[in-house]
């Protein structure tokens, strides 16, 4: 089986062919957004970080922007900076340019304000899109897929149907030599002992367990029951009672493949197969983290109906909840309520999902892309704004 993708200079294969307008700091968002909105084929990455933070977070902003810029779904990158932030735009630009992509920069303060920045940015982006649009899709093996895993607005159907179906998809991608990235470490809490048995070796298991402990302590330090935020109010309405229950259903997304390595947030895997990446469960942070890690397609399960997509990585929405499938059809791509109904096995649904994934990787648009519900983006931070 093959998909049709775009080959990049560094060997990565894109499933989309956008020009990325990346804001390097919260203060560049307005300009980046206006440029992207005026150029067909351009899309903006906006966020709320990049200044008045401690070095650990500033370095992370640099690294995540580099990761996003290197994502194979971007053909070229325009970085938009205010000019006085802590993010190092030149470091970011040079690292992305090392992939062979065209990278341009706009510093609003040097440019003489927003109007001039937007005007020059539009012209730059137009020229980048002209070049990018000449690229043609070509067939590539599934080993070039980097699949991001995500569940959101879960209910009890998630753990019974959509998540295990995605687990089978993940196994199929791994078997084909591809990569699958499991994040949402919050949703390992209470199920990490099961996940640990999936580690390649003891050392890798311990690394994963350390991430879980760190994430749980982050919540505990606030002095409240995690249930105020995890499971969410919607999860609770959907019948999920505790974080342990949510996690036991959530880790089914990992399938049965052994996980090969454990990474910090947004770090691109240097091995193939299933890997674990630190991230919280909230949509903007994990979708950004997966994309920075090089995901070229994301499978996103939902019970109650999560609409979120990402600007330049297709996010396939699947649900096992028949009511949600019917009620939120403008956000749902794939129905696995058949598994709840007993008319299809998890394995059959997983194989059917692989065909959908190949179609989407080859250019079929997701509901999030069609509806423009693609602004779920932000960078996960370690420390405070200071």
């Amino acid at each position: 089986m093959e998909f049709l993708g775009y080959e990049r200079g560094d060997g990565g294969i894109g499933t989309r062919n956008y020009v990325g307008i990346l804001s390097t700091v919260i203060c560049g968002n307005e300009v980046a957004d206006k440029i992207a909105s005026q150029v067909l084929g351009a899309t903006a990455f906006l966020h709320h970080q990049g200044c008045c933070q401690t070095p650990i977070d500033i370095n992370r902003v640099n690294d995540v922007l580099i990761g996003l810029g290197k994502n194979p779904n971007l053909a070229a990158v325009l970085l938009v900076s205010l000019g006085c932030e802590s993010t190092n735009i030149h470091l970011v630009a040079d690292a992305i340019a090392a992939t062979g992509k065209r990278v341009e920069t706009i510093l609003i303060q040097e440019e003489g304000g927003a109007a001039k920045s937007v005007a020059r940015g539009i012209l730059l982006a137009q020229s980048m899109v002209t070049d990018a649009s000449g690229l043609k899709r070509a067939p590539f093996p599934l080993s070039e897929l980097v699949l991001g895993l995500k569940c959101g607005s879960s209910d009890t159907t998630s753990g019974l149907s959509a998540n295990p179906v995605v687990g089978i998809l993940s196994d199929l991608i791994v078997e084909a030599g591809g990569t699958s990235i499991l994040g949402e470490v919050t949703e390992f809490i209470g199920a990490e002992h099961l996940l640990a048995k999936h580690a390649k070796d003891e050392k890798t298991a311990r690394k994963m367990l350390a991430l879980v402990e760190r994430m749980e302590n982050r919540a505990i330090q606030m002095g409240f029951d995690i249930r105020g935020g995890q499971p969410t109010g919607g999860n609770i309405k959907g019948g999920l009672t505790t974080i342990e229950e949510k996690s036991l259903g959530a880790i089914a997304k990992a399938g049965n493949a052994p996980f090969q390595a454990v990474y910090e947030y947004g770090v691109k895997p240097d091995v193939k197969g299933l890997v674990v990446m630190d991230s919280p469960g909230r949509e903007p942070e994990i979708l950004t983290g997966l994309s920075a890690a090089g995901a070229n397609v994301i499978a996103f399960t939902t019970g109650r109906g999560a609409p979120q997509g990402f600007p330049f990585v297709p996010v396939i929405k699947l649900t096992g909840n028949e009511k949600t499938w019917k009620n939120l059809i403008d956000h749902m791509d794939f129905n696995v309520s058949s598994v709840m109904e007993g008319t299809e096995t998890l394995e059959e649904a997983g194989k059917r999902l692989l065909l959908e994934l190949v179609d989407v990787a080859s250019g079929k648009l997701t509901k999030a892309e069609i509806s423009g519900y693609t602004s779920s983006m932000d960078i996960y931070m370690v420390g405070p704004v200071i």
């Binding site: 995690i226 036991l248 709840m340």
Partner: protein, 115 residues
């Protein structure tokens, strides 16, 4: 590493078209697969057996009820794993949810009280 560990906790794809599902025989809660009415008795598969439980209250699709009488302080078992602890006695057929189950993890509130 042993393959199949996570999958083993999951139900088979077939036979889900039921009133409710109890994923593992050792579970003490079951999940409603349709809206269940108070006072009615429903049968569902639990492991290799079929259980028959009369609902103490109406149970919404996707919500859980006690498959057996559960005592205050007992572990709540789903997927064959501990998913919390009963904060009150939960009688068979009663709604098992946040009002009578607490999480054992991420409990910053207990830390604050010095427990």
């Amino acid at each position: 590493m042993k393959a199949g560990q996570v999958k083993k906790i999951l139900p088979k794809g077939r036979n889900m078209k039921q009133n409710a599902i109890m994923i593992k025989a050792q579970d003490n809660v079951a999940t409603a697969l349709r809206d269940l009415d108070a006072g009615r008795t429903y049968q569902f598969v639990a492991g290799k057996e079929t259980l028959s439980v009369t609902m103490k209250e109406s149970i919404a699709y996707g919500h859980k009820f006690a498959a057996v009488d559960i005592s205050k302080g007992a572990d709540i078992i789903k997927y064959g794993e501990i998913m919390g602890r009963a904060t009150a006695d939960i009688s068979q057929g009663a709604h098992a949810h946040v009002q009578n189950i607490e999480s054992l993890r991420g409990r910053g509130d207990l830390k604050k009280e010095g427990v």
